[in-house]
């Protein structure tokens, strides 16, 4: 977690984290679709962990999901909160692309990694609950919390989003960035996951995921 510092180590109150300028984050997205998108679309209901809980209005923050490493993208985007020990290379290549975003200024994030319980009073299970199929919202607890946090005033001047751990392992650091930080990202080109096969293979190895055709 070289790009992240927490609480007083980052010059912030406990419960907040800093993602340093220069950090490169990964974004999984649909090939051909804009990676720099903060969803859900206006009028659409949020289907991701920290999305607006109901149909998004102009008052709701849009969210762009990023991760510190490919691990987080595989776990959160490709598996979509439902563990399988295998990933198909065919579907990975066809339905998922990988973009990088360099952080151009320090981001201040609500810290759900180090101070999840101690400051925010939450349990790991609260923020890693599986989706409830066909429910609106599918992640009722975290979606409601995120809406409150996005609208709340914090003891720091501006909060850009949330840093959290993947549902399948908190070591896979993920960021839910609000659209107020849109201008803080410099996007690199999108590539296929297998464009860097050694990195993909290493990530699969770390996660214990097998690849199939």
């Amino acid at each position: 977690m070289t790009g992240f510092a927490f609480g007083p180590d980052a010059g912030l109150p406990a419960g907040y984290a800093r993602c340093a300028a220069g950090t490169v984050l990964y974004r999984g997205h649909t090939p051909g679709r804009a990676p720099d998108w903060f969803g859900p679309a206006l009028g659409a209901a949020g289907t991701n962990r920290f999305d607006a809980p109901m149909r998004r209005t102009a008052a709701d923050a849009g969210v762009c999901y990023l991760a510190e490493r490919i691990d987080g993208v595989l776990l959160e985007r490709v598996l979509r909160g439902v563990w399988r020990p295998i990933i198909s290379r065919r579907t990975l290549g066809r339905d998922h692309a990988l973009a990088t975003a360099r952080v151009d200024r320090d981001l201040v994030l609500l810290d759900l990694l180090v101070a999840l319980s101690t400051v925010h009073g939450l349990e790991l299970a609260d923020v890693s609950a599986p989706p409830i199929p066909r429910a609106v919202p599918p992640y009722p607890h975290t979606q409601a919390l995120a809406a409150q946090w996005a609208a709340a005033s914090h003891p720091v001047p501006s909060v850009d989003g949330i840093v959290y751990g993947s549902r399948f392992g908190p070591a896979a650091v993920c960021v839910a960035l609000w659209d107020r930080a849109r201008g803080a990202l410099a996007w690199g080109p999108s590539v296929r996951f297998e464009a860097d096969m050694p990195a993909l293979a290493a990530s699969c190895e770390r996660l214990g995921i097998g690849l199939v055709t």
Binding site: H29, T30, A34, W37, T47, T91, V212
Partner: protein, 229 residues
Amino acid sequence: MATLLNEPLANLLDTPGITDVSAQVEALVVRMASLALTVADAAPAAAVTRALAAASPEAFLAAFAELLVARGVTAPGALAMLRGRIALADVLKESGGLLRADEAQARLGVTRATLQSWRDTKKILALPLSDGSFGYPVAQFAPPATDLERPRPLPGIADVLAAAGDALAPSELIALLAARRDAFAGADGRPRTGFAALAEGDVGLVVGLVAHVTTPADEGAPLEGEPGE
């Protein structure tokens, strides 16, 4: 080592019931034995002991794959691919196995054409195999209610396949359905597999989770280059 190399291979095999094999099978066994010898001879004793302690063929294969990779696999991703095949074998075994086409026809009491039609119209889940044929997960078939009937696809299998579309490979879908999950829990709150939930009539629960997985997290994002919101 001297004992192994001086003794006929047949004396060392533990395969009761197999007394005669084709030349092709014999060649495969010899090749496997040569590979095993080369890999094990170069591996640390503790790693070989761990492989020998594996409780199932799948666990043994996984442990052997680790030895193979530790020896130096050249292609990146080779271990992940090996792991994938072993994980899939594990999933299939845990879920009740796979029927080859002729076994499925016999078990279901249908013709080859019917089986093919069920597969082509996505009424049943079929796993493409490396030889170009298909395998059919046993767990997708409901056992017959009486001796006069045959197993039939679980209610809702076709709905699940429709929800999965092309967004999940058959192997991924099998892995999703074969695992016990809270999301598939029934009225008693106990986790079930997707196959069990279908068998007990909870089709909506399974279709809902599959639909969640196959709906991209960035559904609604504009095309690249188009202005967003």
